[in-house]
Symmetry: none
Subunit: 197 residues, 4 copies
DNA sequence: CATGAATGAGCCTTCATTCAT
DNA sequence: CATGAATGAAGGCTCATTCAT
């Protein structure tokens, strides 16, 4: 009755859940709806996930900021971006594109609001966040002569501004590109002045 | 049986709800618990709020970023802060203090994750956010000669960095003060360079 | 829509449950069926009982052996029964009548089989059982000069034989009355011989 | 992957089930747990048993009272026990030892509580019970000159008292031995007096 | 204004059973 | 004989909401 692709059941469940969360939010999406959309029986869900909360952890991982910046993990990528500006611009675009699938941002914010009550989620986030910031800072130091701490703060500000744009972007009406350019320029000014001290 | 203070019922409900949200999160807090803590009957809740979702709007308003920066609305306050640095520092401290009541941040993030599905909430947020940014920018232009747009972006970055610190602050381990100082310094560098163009 | 007798909801639930347990057994009876028979909504069940297991405790209490022998608690009753024989016969008849509502025996045996895993049930049973035996023994000593210990054992044997008849009675085909008479006679023989030692 | 002993699968399932019932009770034990403990796949269970209820019949048979008294079936055993007292004592000890594995008593009582709804179980019990009582009575008549009916009642009382001790033994605090002695003495008094009539 | 018993749709989860391999 | 992924009916329970008093 349904297309039997071997070993795809779990994936079907995950992507069905994603789509539904996008439309209705995490709490309002029921397991019934998920399995209906995935085309499997209710019990099947529980073969792959211990609970509905278990599923959100899987999804949470997929919407972590670190997943939004693939160029941060490609070791050879910097060759394509001669300047820090151009590299940050690339990261910024990737980030905003990734979260322009609105449900990703929603799930991400949802995670932030519940993580204190979900220990395992909290740990995943903290670790992934640390890695992201450190790797970002490391990349910056490859472009400009600056202390690691300053690079860290610069990258955190950069990331913060990107995130903020996700929910506050349309409060001002700047274009994405314009905002990006300005933010990057601010970050770079700061780095240069820090470097010269 | 309970102390009857006239006209206090609504307040009792709101503050009971706040306390519970702080402990258990919005979704996990039931109307039963709220009325129990407030010391009123179940039906009474619905005399004051159309629904549980109605209540969150009330609370959402109270945890808006704009509520976190009282100094932004005091027209005479700038007299106490001769430099932009000192003023931003004051705002930053107020902001972080305000949200150090953890449930405020939780409710705020919760709001961000659901606002697209709650029209009225979305409007409140957009408007309050616009006001906040505009007022922040206006204040900046009172300190430095800079275009309004640049001031807006600067203030947004400032705000973004503060918000990011709420959930990612401990991923790096900088002290609040150190982080604040660095962020402010970056913002100001940017403004000065923009101004001089 | 339903007959509204004040304060009768709980009773309606209990008696509906009893009837169903009689027909289908405890485990096979669902909360859905109970509320349907009681004519109330599902949620109402949980206003009166914390859980389905909670209900069984209530019922368990009502089918305790001690409830099967009202004459054991009437302080003046012995006046009506001049001899121990006649009194035990009365108790025996009461007991067998009580449990001839078959579901009572079923619930009772069910309780015996699960009590080790339900602490509170176990305590209720132990206590009620002790009381029953002690009171029975006390009554015996009012009729015959015999040590309390011997009276206890005699009464326990009497009770044991009654209980056994509940499930093994038809394995032999004696009439109730005949069996009762024989058991009582055995018990009394034992007591007389013990007394004379 | 697992040690393949030919033809042992059924036994592994039965003994795994026994162990689990001992710990968790019949209803709370799942087929999943049974097969996990037995080290076979889920489907394999259904090669050997039509259903889970089918399995309990197998187990029910193993905890029948008749299984608790091996000395009742040994035709030569009476040679070792010159008196009825000593023989009943032996039977009583065997019985209490057998059921001191608590799960046996639990399964037995479970069976009593459901047998009316499980025809085949009921038949097994009735038949086994009849056999047990008749054989017991037959043995008694080998020791004392007494009518078969009186022997039957005497043995039923004996058995009843043993069973009662399984769940009510600790309500009084007599030692097993003391209780046994007293019960046997009562039974024998009764038999002697019946015989002399 | 206030009550709280009653509601019932809906939730998450379990588990005996089947069947294609 | 054996497997184990898939099933789906059924279960116990929650909780926002209503309404007669």
């Amino acid at each position: 009755m349904s297309t039997k692709s071997p070993g795809k059941t779990r994936e079907k469940l995950v992507s069905a859940a994603m789509e539904l969360f996008a439309k209705k939010g995490f709490d309002k999406t029921t397991v019934d709806e998920i399995v209906a959309k995935a085309g499997v029986a209710k019990g099947t869900f529980y073969l792959y996930f211990k609970s509905k909360d278990d599923l959100i952890k899987e999804l949470a991982f997929e919407v972590m900021p670190i997943m939004a910046m693939p160029s941060l993990n490609d070791p050879y990528i910097t060759l394509s971006y001669p300047t820090l500006e151009s590299y940050l611009l690339q990261l910024g675009k990737e980030f905003l594109d990734f979260y322009s699938e609105n449900y990703r941002a929603d799930i991400f914010f949802h995670m932030l609001s519940v993580r204190r009550r979900m220990k395992s989620l909290n740990e995943i986030y903290s670790q992934s966040c640390s890695e992201l910031l450190r790797e970002g800072a490391r990349r910056i130091t490859a472009y400009v002569k600056v202390g690691f701490e300053d690079a860290l703060i610069a990258f955190q500000m950069f990331l913060a501004s990107l995130m903020h744009y996700l929910h506050a972007g349309d409060c001002l009406g700047f274009s994405r590109e314009h905002y990006l350019k300005k933010v990057i320029s601010a970050v770079i000014h700061h780095l240069k002045l820090s470097a010269s001290v």
